[in-house]
Amino acid sequence: MAIGQFDPHLFLKILPDLAYGALVTLKFSILSTLFGLVIGTVFGIFRIVKNPVLNAISMAYVEVIRGTPLLVQIMIVYYGLPQAGITLPPDISGVLALSINSGAYIAEIIRAGIQSVPKGQMEAARSLGMTYVQAMRYVVLPQAFRNILPALGNEFIALIKDSSLLSVIAIAELTRVGMQIYAVTFNAWTPLLGVALFYLMMTLPLSRLVDYAQRRIGGHESA
């Protein structure tokens, strides 16, 4: 066999397990992106409002998260919080850690997205009697989201890959499933190639979609 000890028989046998692991990975990535989107929108807006305290809080959050490894963040949530009296099931810890992590990256994306909307849009909305919140919600954010859709897609792709770190807290996502098969069969190549394949099957179509979205937005930019 050319590649290590790739075993086609074993491969077929473990496909359902890997597929299940991939679903778990997808579930964690989707949930964390959604929560991350909420956190990111809030902190992205905190960054641009005229309030030094909120600005500082948002900046600190983003810097801390971006400046520390995701693995450490996951372990702090999983091992640290219980010692502070907060015990969460692994699933919740996993989503929490990933959401806090992606929230910081998405906050930066949202901030850039809001700043990409011309100032005149907010002014026109305010001049018609909309409150700041209404103008944000109905005028600025929809345009910001349209502009940052590709960046959000990339963030989602990154999260699919990064969620493999959840394997350290015993969440049965794709990577952990692969490792467990290895531990039982002592065959590394078969499960790990399978794992890689499943990651690719999730990320490749998404990358295509992001490319497509990028081209479309670039295609009809308007003033």
Binding site: G120, A124, A125, R126, S127, G129, M130, Q143, R146, S222
Partner: protein, 242 residues
């Protein structure tokens, strides 16, 4: 009593003193044209009237209500003061129709169907009922500006502010926008118009105000200002642009 009264209005940006004590009154149905060199503070004055810029000092009084009072609900007041900008500022993710219905629904809480009826009425008024479902990037500059005017009018304001609304347009598109404004003046709308279109100022303006360096230098009927300006600075400005 005049509809709009501005008393000793000042605006500073940091150390830059942009408005230095503006006093003016605008009567109901009056069309006041403001002219003046670039940087004289015309836009800032308009933007202070609906508090897109906060005045540093002074008062703006609309129909007896001091709107520069910090206690006043500015979002309520802004519904009564329409403004149209040089850069149109149509909401680029919405169709022409939705540009008009959005503020009606969000601000005035008018139900969808009725908001659409109102929007169509104003699109018709500016001659664009057939463009209702077009997005801004599918419209010419002149058409965008007419939608912007319709959007402001649909809120049923008592006074309309126009800030060089034809300056960003190709020359052949200027007329269609001025025609809409002309009609509006004829219908009795109270208007404050900042413009470089002297022909329009002459024809439509009831009064012309010449501003320079943050102050009103002189004001009068179009006749007085254009044929017989009293101040040297006014004469100089007019000779430069006429």
């Amino acid at each position: 009593m005049s509809l709009l009264e501005i008393i000793d209005l000042h605006k500073k940006f940091g150390n830059l003193h942009v408005l230095k004590g503006i006093n003016m009154e605008v009567d109901r149905g009056e069309v006041v044209v403001i002219i003046g060199p670039s940087g004289s503070g015309k836009s800032t004055l308009l933007r202070c009237i609906n508090r897109l810029e906060e005045p540093t000092k002074g008062k703006v009084i609309l129909d007896g209500v001091e709107i520069t009072d910090p206690k006043v609900d500015i979002n309520k007041i802004r519904q009564r003061i329409g403004i149209v900008f040089q850069q149109f500022n149509l909401f680029s993710h919405l169709t022409a129709l939705e540009n008009i219905t959005l503020p009606l629904r969000v601000v005035k809480k008018i139900p969808k169907e009725e908001a659409e009826r109102i929007a169509m009425r104003f699109l018709k008024k500016v001659g664009l009922e057939d463009k209702a479902s077009h997005y801004p990037h599918q419209l010419s500059g002149g058409q965008q500006q007419r939608v912007a005017i319709a959007r402001a009018l649909a809120m049923n304001p008592e006074v309309m502010l126009f800030d060089e609304v034809t300056s960003a347009l190709d020359p052949e598109l200027v007329k269609e926008v001025l025609d809409v404004m002309r009609q509006l003046a004829r219908d009795g709308m109270t208007m404050i118009v900042v413009t470089h279109e002297m022909g329009f100022a002459r024809e439509v303006g009831d009064r012309v105000i010449f501003m320079d360096k943050g102050k009103i230098v002189e004001e009068g009927t179009p006749e007085e200002i254009f044929t017989n300006p009293k101040h040297e600075r006014t004469r100089k400005f007019l000779s430069m642009i006429l």
